[in-house]
Symmetry: C2
Subunit: 209 residues, 2 copies
């Protein structure tokens, strides 16, 4: 059997997987056991041909006329996305945005736990921060001890590349980057950029008359 490599799968497909998983979780909450590809696609706001195409990357699912087994399909997706167990994540840069993300409760219910925060100023006083704030020289210790692979980056743009180099040197392979800058990373490291100004610009473009 031909094995599909992870790198062959479009990033968009993986994003949609997350959306399908959320729709399936809602069905489970409502004790619904099977779902047609049309109904699942509609809930996810995609075409059913798209849903079926996305799923073919991962195997054969569903029974003609019966649809998908909700429990089975969501278990498979959780497995693929690595969210069946809580994954440790570190955050670097405890400014306003970093602080807000630390207190954001949405991550844990989705399988991610911010276990430690770092800042260039390890003495940074943040009365509202529920986590201890470490200085950067503790990176190695924390990453090793908790086998951390992912980091959220909320440092100012001019510092971002240097911090990223440090993170990678200590074994981080996935970075959620909020700094408005293009990071240079080796091929095996994955960066997802969240650039809020660019999101607004994109909206702005489309809403102009």
């Amino acid at each position: 059997m031909k094995k599909t490599l992870k790198s062959d799968i479009p990033r968009k497909t993986v994003y949609r997987l997350s959306v399908y998983l959320r729709c399936l979780q809602r069905l489970r909450t409502n004790k619904i056991r099977t779902v047609s590809s049309e109904a699942l696609a509609k809930a996810a706001q995609v075409k059913s041909t798209q849903l079926r195409k996305d799923l073919t990357y991962f195997g054969q699912f569903g029974t003609r006329g019966l649809g998908y087994d909700v429990e089975q399909l969501s278990a498979m997706m959780g497995e693929l996305l690595g969210t069946t167990s809580l994954q440790p994540v570190i955050l670097v840069g405890v400014g306003n945005l970093g602080l807000a993300l630390i207190s954001y409760h949405g991550f844990e219910q989705e399988g991610f736990e911010i276990i430690a925060a770092f800042d260039a100023d390890g003495q940074r006083k943040r009365t509202k921060c529920r986590l201890p704030i470490y200085s950067m020289d503790k990176l190695d210790e924390v990453i090793l001890e908790r086998a951390v692979k992912m980091a959220i980056l909320t440092v100012p743009a001019p510092e971002a590349q240097e911090v990223v180099n440090q993170l990678i040197a200590h074994g981080i392979v996935g970075i959620l980057n909020f700094a408005p800058i293009m990071l240079h990373v080796p091929e095996e490291v994955m960066v997802n950029n969240v650039n809020l100004a660019i999101e607004l610009e994109n909206l702005s473009y489309f809403i102009q008359q």
Copy 2:
């Protein structure tokens, strides 16, 4: 001449426009007057064929052998993206994330100004908030007075759809949505979703061995 409709242009192209614009701005800061498509593409981390293809949606640019005029190309892009003048934006939902975005200084230098914040609890006390927090019944007044077209949505998921309905009823046509939910909106309204848990899941998928 055949006119390209906005809706014909891929959203990804418009995202890349924002990235090109940032690269051009850096060139301007460094007093560089012309740039080849190869150099600009490299700075934006895309292929030069992609850059050239993206630009063809908007007209003819550049001179063979000379490249692009930095000033001219960035003026055109700023015009297209509507960031040549400061655009007013409102924010709804003054929780931790909303508060962080209000104090985020990255928006203004990119052409967007959060001019007012709203919350279901109009009496919400936020000592650190630089803006007055209005209750939702002030929406109409503020949107009308400042001709606001865009909103940032940072309310909890269960409230998001209802708030969006209100926003749209009052004339908002572009929404940057942080609530982890798929919003239903009419065709003429544009929503960009920022779902932080999904970004982490996406990373998580690709970094698994």
